[in-house]
C-alpha cells in the first residue's frame, strides 16, 4: 500500500510540474513576452527597462526556478484588474465554484446510479432505449443554450426562478433564497455530467451481472432484487467512484459556462473575464490552482479506489 501511495504521489507532483512548465512557456510565447505579465507599459524603452528589472535577460532555466519558487511560496502575482494578490481573489472565488460543482456532482450521482442500474437490469427494454436516447441528448445539448432556454421558460415566462446571481440583492439572505438561485445552474451543470455517469454505471453493472458469483446467487434461488442490490451493486459501484473523480475536470470546465449564463460569481466567471481582459497573472494563477485542485482530488480518488479494491494496489 505504501508503495502504491508513493507512486501516485510522484505522479501527482509530476502532473503539477508539467502544468507549471506549460503555463511558464505559454507566457514566454506571448506576443511581447512575459514583460507584459507585470506591466502595462508598452513603449520599447519602458519594456527594456522593465525586462532588466525583472531579470528577464537571465537564462530561461534561472527564470523558471525563480518563478517556481514564487509559486511554492504562494506568490502568484497581482491582478492587472484591481491590483489585488491573485491568490486572495482565488480564495474568495474557488469555494463559490466548489459549492455549485459539488451540488451538481451530488445530484448527478444520485440520479445516474438508479438510471444506470435500471438500464442494465432492463437491457433492451423501452426504458433502456429512452435512457440511452436521453444520454445522447445530454451530451449533445450546448449547456449555455440549455441554460438560456431554462431562463426563458422559468424566469421570463413563468417567473418562478431568478435568472442570475447567488442571492437577491437587497433581500434577506435566507437559505431558501440561495437554494432558489441554485436550481437552474445546478441543473444545467448536472446535465453535462449525467450521461457519462449513467453510461458508466450501466456498463459497470452489466459487467458485474455477468460474473460467476452473480450467477451463483441467482442459482441459489435468491430474489432478483437481492442479487442486484446486495451482490452486484457493491462491486459495480467501485469503478463509478473512479469515474466520478475523473469527471472533476468536466465539472470545473462546465462551471465556466454555467457561471457565465447565470452570473454565478465563481472561478469560471473570473477566468472568462480575465481571459477577455488579458489579465495574465489571474489567468495563469487560475490554471495552476485549478490543476492543483484536480490533481489533489484525483489523488484522493485513486487512493480511495486502492483502498476499496485491493486488486488495484497490486498492478
Amino acid at each position: 500500500m505504501l508503495q502504491f501511495v508513493a507512486r501516485r504521489l510522484i505522479h501527482a507532483v509530476g502532473v503539477l510540474l508539467a502544468v507549471a512548465i506549460f503555463t511558464f512557456l505559454l507566457v514566454h510565447a506571448a506576443p511581447g513576452g512575459p514583460a507584459i505579465m507585470t506591466t502595462m507599459e508598452t513603449t520599447p524603452d519602458q519594456i527594456a527597462a522593465h525586462r532588466a528589472r525583472l531579470g528577464l535577460d537571465q537564462p530561461l532555466h534561472v527564470q523558471f526556478g525563480k518563478w517556481m519558487w514564487n509559486l511554492l511560496r504562494g506568490d502568484f502575482g497581482r491582478s492587472f484588474n484591481d491590483g489585488r494578490p491573485v491568490l486572495a481573489v482565488l480564495g474568495e472565488r474557488l469555494p463559490v465554484t466548489l459549492l455549485l460543482g459539488g451540488a451538481a456532482l451530488l445530484i448527478s450521482v444520485v440520479l445516474a446510479l438508479p438510471a444506470g442500474i435500471y438500464s442494465a437490469t432492463h437491457r433492451g427494454a423501452t426504458g433502456d432505449h429512452v435512457t440511452t436516447f436521453l444520454s445522447f441528448i445530454g451530451v449533445s445539448i450546448p449547456s449555455f443554450w440549455f441554460g438560456i432556454v431554462l431562463t426563458i421558460v422559468f424566469s421570463v415566462q413563468l417567473r418562478w426562478l431568478p435568472s442570475s446571481g447567488m442571492f437577491t440583492v437587497g433581500a434577506a439572505d435566507t437559505l431558501s433564497n440561495r437554494i432558489v438561485h441554485m436550481i437552474m445552474p445546478v441543473l444545467v451543470l448536472a446535465t453535462g455530467l449525467l450521461p457519462q455517469l449513467v453510461r458508466y454505471a450501466r456498463s459497470s453493472m452489466l459487467e458485474v451481472l455477468s460474473r460467476d458469483y452473480v450467477r451463483t446467487a441467482r442459482a441459489k434461488g435468491l430474489a432478483t432484487s437481492r442479487v442486484v442490490y446486495h451482490h452486484a451493486l457493491r462491486n459495480a459501484l467501485i469503478p463509478v467512484v473512479t469515474v466520478t473523480g475523473l469527471l472533476l475536470p468536466r465539472v470545473i470546465g462546465g462551471a465556466v459556462i454555467t457561471e457565465q449564463i447565470f452570473g454565478w460569481p465563481g472561478m469560471g466567471q473570473l477566468a472568462v473575464a480575465s481571459a477577455i481582459g488579458r489579465d495574465f497573472p489571474m489567468v495563469l494563477g487560475i490554471t495552476v490552482v485549478i490543476a492543483g485542485v484536480v490533481v489533489a482530488t484525483n489523488l484522493i480518488v485513486d487512493l480511495a479506489y486502492g483502498w476499496l479494491d485491493p486488486r488495484i494496489r497490486h498492478d
Binding site: H11, V15, F136, F144, W145, S203, I252, G253, A271, V283
Partner: protein, 297 residues
C-alpha cells in the same frame, strides 16, 4: 437458416465475398438514427458551404428599417437587433462552426495518432513517457487551458481551432496506442519486417489500416466535441468574435434579448444541438458498423 442460404446472404451478386467497407455500409444502413443523422448532416454541410457562394448572399447587410423583425417576407427567420437577416447569419455561422470543428478535429486526430502510434509501436521508455503525458493532459480541465491560450494569443478562428485541437487529442492517442499494441505482434507485421520494411513503413502501411476504423469513429465523435467547444468559447466571448457570425456568438448576442425576442436564442441553439447530436449518432452508428464486437460496450 441453412449453410447455403447463409452464404448467399453474405456473398454479393458476383459470388465474391463482399469487401469490409460494403459490409460496414450495409450495417450502417440498418441503423435508423445514424441514417437520419447522415441525411441531416449532408443538408447542413451543403447549405453551409454552397449557399454563401450564391450571389446576393450577405450576412452583414443591415436593414435599419426593420430591426428585430418577426419572421416572414424577405426575412424567413426575421432580423436581429441591427436588422441583419437571421437566416443568412445562421448559414454563414454554420460554415464557420463546421470549418473550425472539422479542422480542430483533424489536428486532434493527427496529434493523437502520431503520439499513440509511437507509444504503442516502440513501447518501453517512449510508451511510458508519452502515456504519462497523455494521462496528465487528460486530468486537466481543458477549458481553462484553452482560456489561458486564448488570453495569451487572442481569439479568432485560427487560435480557437489550434487550442481545441491541441487539448483534445488524448482519447485518440490512447485508442491508437491500444490498437497498435494489439496489431504490432501480428504475423503480417513480422512478415513485413522480415521483408525489410522500415518502422515508418510498417506503421503507415500495415498498422494504420488496422487502426483506421477506431480513428474514424473517434474522429466523428471528435467533430461533435469540437463544434460544441467552439460554440461554447464563442458564447463566452473568447472564440469567434463578432461581426463574423458563429452559432455560439449569435447565442451570446441573443441572450440580451431573451426578455423581448426569445426566438433569436432558439435558432442557433437548435442547430448546434441537432448537428452535434447527429455527429454523435453517426459516431455511434459507425462504431457498431465498423466493429460489431464493440456493440453495447
Amino acid at each position: 437458416m441453412t449453410e447455403a442460404l447463409g452464404n448467399a446472404a453474405v456473398r454479393g451478386r458476383d459470388g465474391k465475398a463482399p469487401r469490409f467497407a460494403t459490409l460496414a455500409a450495409r450495417r450502417l444502413r440498418r441503423n435508423r438514427p445514424a441514417v437520419a443523422s447522415l441525411l441531416f448532416l449532408a443538408l447542413v454541410h451543403v447549405f453551409a458551404f454552397l449557399v454563401p457562394a450564391l450571389p446576393g448572399f450577405d450576412p452583414f447587410l443591415t436593414d435599419p428599417g426593420s430591426t428585430l423583425a418577426a419572421p416572414g417576407g424577405a426575412h424567413p427567420l426575421g432580423t436581429d437587433e441591427v436588422g441583419r437577416d437571421v437566416l443568412s447569419r445562421l448559414i454563414d455561422g454554420a460554415r464557420v462552426s463546421l470549418v473550425v470543428g472539422l479542422l480542430s478535429m483533424a489536428l486532434a486526430i493527427s496529434t493523437g495518432t502520431i503520439i499513440g502510434a509511437l507509444a504503442g509501436y516502440f513501447g518501453g521508455f517512449a510508451d511510458a513517457w508519452l502515456m504519462r503525458a497523455t494521462d496528465a493532459m487528460m486530468a486537466l480541465p481543458t477549458l481553462f487551458l484553452i482560456l489561458a491560450i486564448v488570453a495569451v494569443f487572442g481569439g479568432g478562428p485560427f487560435v480557437v481551432m489550434a487550442a481545441i485541437g491541441l487539448t483534445s487529442w488524448m482519447q485518440v492517442a490512447r485508442i491508437v496506442r491500444g490498437e497498435t499494441l494489439r496489431w504490432r505482434v501480428a504475423e503480417f507485421v513480422d512478415a513485413a519486417r522480415a521483408l525489410g520494411a522500415s518502422d515508418g513503413r510498417i506503421m503507415r502501411r500495415h498498422l494504420l489500416p488496422q487502426v483506421a476504423p477506431a480513428i474514424i469513429v473517434t474522429a466523428t465523435l471528435g467533430v461533435a466535441y469540437a463544434i460544441l467547444t467552439e460554440s461554447a468559447l464563442s458564447y463566452l466571448g473568447v472564440g469567434i468574435r463578432p461581426p463574423t457570425p458563429s452559432w455560439g456568438n449569435m447565442l451570446q448576442n441573443a441572450q440580451q434579448y431573451i426578455w423581448s425576442q426569445p426566438r433569436l436564442a432558439i435558432y442557433p441553439g437548435v442547430l448546434i444541438l441537432l448537428t452535434v447530436l447527429s455527429y454523435n449518432f453517426m459516431g455511434d452508428g459507425l462504431r457498431d458498423a465498423l466493429d460489431p464486437s464493440l456493440r453495447n460496450v
